[in-house]
């Protein structure tokens, strides 16, 4: 069972609330202060993506977040209810997963070394795990397409920010990211190290108390 679960109406205004809650739970779970900015941004990115997907496909369905203190790790899962277009064939094969991106630390940019998209895609050759083409829902991409002007051939990525850019940003922030697309929706699972020292200290204090038979 998750330590804290939140579900919210898919409105952009609520993404900030989700960020604040996730950061508070992360802090409570012993995530180092230096990592809290990364938690805040990654959870915000995942929620922004889910909100955009819901607003297009199922605006009455809530976006769900589960935050769990796993002891040595702090885990956040952001789930949407929009089936991935790739989910159908994968499910038919019994895999239950359309794409399973497991990204390590990497550069989420365009063509730089260490690209975070080093996953083991199960949905087909050459698939970009971050694309999740079933619903091109990256808000950054919207901004760019709204502008409509052509790139001028400089350092800008072709067509502006690529689809799935938010997920690519997450891969650069979270210690461990797994993206799973099924017929029931897409889940973005992220984990960060929690303070093992704090956990050990709590366990020691607990043990000491019991040995002393404190009331």
């Amino acid at each position: 069972m998750a330590t804290v679960e939140v579900s919210f109406t898919p409105l952009p205004a609520h993404v900030r609330t989700a960020r604040l809650v996730a950061t508070a739970v992360a802090r409570r779970s012993g995530v180092d202060e230096s990592l809290l900015d990364e938690v805040r941004l990654a959870v915000g990115e995942a929620c922004s993506r889910a909100v955009e997907a819901h607003r297009r496909h199922c605006p009455t369905e809530p976006v769900r977040i589960e935050m769990t203190d796993l002891g040595e790790r702090f885990e956040v899962v952001v789930r949407d209810s929009v089936p991935s277009a790739q989910a159908t064939p994968a499910t038919a094969n019994g895999h239950g997963q359309a794409s399973h991106g497991h990204a390590s630390h990497g550069n989420a940019g365009h063509g730089n070394a260490g690209h975070g998209n080093a996953g083991h895609g199960q949905a087909g050759p050459g698939q970009d795990n971050f694309g999740l083409d079933g619903h091109a829902d990256d808000p950054g991409a919207h901004d760019d397409s709204a502008d409509g002007s052509a790139a001028d051939g400089s350092a800008l990525p072709p067509g502006g920010l690529p689809g799935g850019f938010g997920l690519a940003v997450i891969s650069g922030l979270a210690d461990d990211v797994r993206i799973t697309a099924t017929v029931s929706g897409v889940s973005v699972r992220m984990t960060w190290p929690a303070a093992v020292g704090a956990q050990a200290l709590r366990a020691y204090i607990s043990c000491t108390k019991s040995n002393l038979s404190l009331p």
Partner: protein, 116 residues
């Protein structure tokens, strides 16, 4: 906190002051301002992000969109930012190669002037 926006002209360059959080909720306001400035023939922009507390990919998208717009008019969009938490986002996305990022508004303006 919410997003506060302001702008003023200095040495022929339009400086946009941004304060607060740029995310999926607030970014449309920044996009509208940038579009409005370009529509009013301001093609040399400096976005001062020193008081930005949060920036996500939506905000990056707005800035890239603004850059494309001004470049369509041979203009420029430079950023002012010294906050490590914000600079990190530009670094991991590779956008430090796309934007000129300066320590102060004056340095951004003088760098732009010297390129002319």
């Amino acid at each position: 906190m919410d997003l506060k926006l302001g702008h003023y002209n200095k040495d022929g360059i339009e400086v946009v002051d941004v304060e607060g959080e740029i995310d999926v909720y607030t970014a449309p306001r920044l996009r509208e301002l940038l579009i409005d400035l370009v529509n009013k023939n301001n093609y040399q922009l400096v976005v001062n992000m020193e008081k930005v507390e949060f920036l996500d990919s939506t905000g990056l998208g707005v800035l890239v969109g603004g850059l494309k717009r001004v470049r369509a008019h041979d203009g420029s969009l430079d950023l002012v930012c010294t906050q490590e938490r914000i600079l990190k986002i530009f670094r991991i996305t590779g956008l430090t190669k796309v934007f000129g990022i300066h320590d102060t508004v004056d340095l951004a303006i003088s760098a732009r002037k010297s390129e002319k």
